[in-house]
Point group: C2
Chain length 313, copies 2
């Protein structure tokens, strides 16, 4: 076992930070083998942590909710890791980072580890970097890992592949039907949180969400809808209790175990894909600029080029 | 040349429909080689059509706008193909299809071809099926191809890779800052359309979008902001004229040609990736259920399995 792996298993903060940086670089297509060696070493030491995904529109109060969840789990004596996935746009970064400053009050607590990850990765980038960071935190002895991600783009679907329990945060007055109707949102939520529940329309959002859930036939797990006011902590104990119920469902029922199997399946698929991407990029990179020039001059086309590359693998 | 390729080049509607179905099946991981042979044959006959992407939130009026764009281009005597990409959620399908019914009034016009594509494809699925359909329509002699896609998930980023001119449709009263701030939206738009411009707040959306655009430094192309009322056709001639300006930019400037090169690059990358994915899925599928069982029993892990598969490619 490498020195770095040992450090992770001992919960060494600098070791954890260094390992996560290696993973981040990996998604930028460098340092692949170092990252892989590390993952192979630590993977057998994972499986203890429960991974909670928090996703929702910008402005739904995810960071405050995460902050209060950390507090709640700490009172239960649990060790907590947080991965905050930043969206890629340079325009939204600022506001979201400001929201997250509050969370930093936990950074003096040695049993809380908070890390922001950029979401700028290429194909499969977000999901791999995040998944690997969660494995590092798991191996380092955290009991709970919270992944907070803005509900835009691919990150929503990725979080379902990584998190054990996905909480989708809704909020009154943000174009509610659109939030709920958004492609796939019903499929990814294990728990719905209607946050800012002191605002007008909160009951309506909760009611409409429940009505939508009634349309789901043959569901083994009906996602509960929890009303919270993250600002003052209202509803947080109930949220934690619903997350616990979902954990029991996943461990104790056949349907839950099937879901775990599906996630293992997609973990292999994603990993396989990211390895293939690296290989494909290498092969294409070798003679790229000449080939692009030939395509512009219509001497060749992408299909012919790909045929040639595949033959050389 | 195959009989099917000849039919496509002659603009035969049934041949086109059949070819697109082959591409759709391809994204479901079957029939790969038939699809590839066809693409290799028709690719050299493409490059005439200008591909316009229309993306935006549900309810922004994309379908009505597309309908009016078809009308506009038809008065100029241009042949038009439309690809309507449906989002995957079973909850939103109905409403969106209803919106699109109006568009079908053009289906009696032999120079207009409209096709809906499902977006249920797996990794890389949306972008490949759509790209290939656009190539088929291009080869069949269409002058303009409009790709309409809901601005959720990966489809937004995919459209940038496929369309020559991307129009992002905004609308007053849909949580405007969020629409504009959404990760990456500034990067993908070539033209901003503020639709339903007779509604309160349209000027505000336009102003804020322009203000946001002012923040872009060193841009070779500053996306224009066009106000439209798709319902009655207001602003449509200006929209078409801005699309034309963008086309000129792409053809006549070094910056435009660089963008075309980048798109050729990502076309090769995507194609290469989808070919590798097919092979990897085959290898993983062979002994999948036993391997998942072993993972559940902690006898192995995804990293070890992927290593093994990669060795066998």
């Amino acid at each position: 076992m490498s020195v770095l792996s040992s450090k992770i298993l001992n919960g060494d903060v600098r070791g954890i930070a260094r390992a996560i940086s290696i993973m981040e670089n990996k998604t930028n297509r460098t340092g692949v083998s170092e990252a892989e060696e590390l993952m192979k070493e630590i993977y057998p030491h994972t499986g203890n942590a429960w991974i909670i995904g928090i996703t929702g529109s910008p402005g739904s109060g995810k960071s405050t909710l995460t902050d209060k969840l950390i507090e709640q789990f700490r009172t239960e004596g649990k060790k907590v890791g947080v991965i905050a996935v930043d969206p890629s746009s340079p325009f939204s970064g600022g506001a979201i980072l400001a929201d997250r400053i509050r969370m930093q009050r936990h950074s003096d607590d040695p049993e809380v580890y908070i890390r922001s990850l950029g979401a700028r990765g290429a194909l499969g980038g977000v999901s791999n970097g995040t998944r690997e960071t969660s494995l590092i935190l798991d191996a380092s002895g955290k009991d709970i890992i919270i992944i907070e991600t803005v509900g835009v783009g691919q990150s929503e679907i990725d979080i379902m592949r990584i998190a054990d329990t996905v909480c989708v945060v809704l909020v009154p007055g943000l174009g509610d039907e659109i939030q709920i109707m958004k492609a796939g949102i019903m499929e990814i939520a294990d728990v719905f949180v209607v946050n800012k529940a002191d605002r007008d329309g909160a009951d309506k959002v909760a009611r409409e969400t429940r009505a939508m859930l009634d349309l789901l036939k043959n569901k083994d797990w009906i996602p509960p809808v929890v009303l919270t006011i993250a600002e003052d902590g209202s509803g947080l104990p109930e949220l934690v209790s619903k997350i616990d119920s979902h954990k029991k469902f996943m461990h104790d029922t056949e349907a839950g175990i099937e879901r775990i199997e599906r996630r293992l399946n997609s973990e292999v698929e994603n990993l396989l894909l990211s390895r293939l991407v690296v290989r494909a990029w290498q092969l294409w990179g070798e003679n790229k600029s000449n080939r692009i020039k030939d395509m512009l001059e219509l001497k060749t086309n992408p299909y012919a080029i790909v045929d040639e590359i595949i033959k050389n693998i």
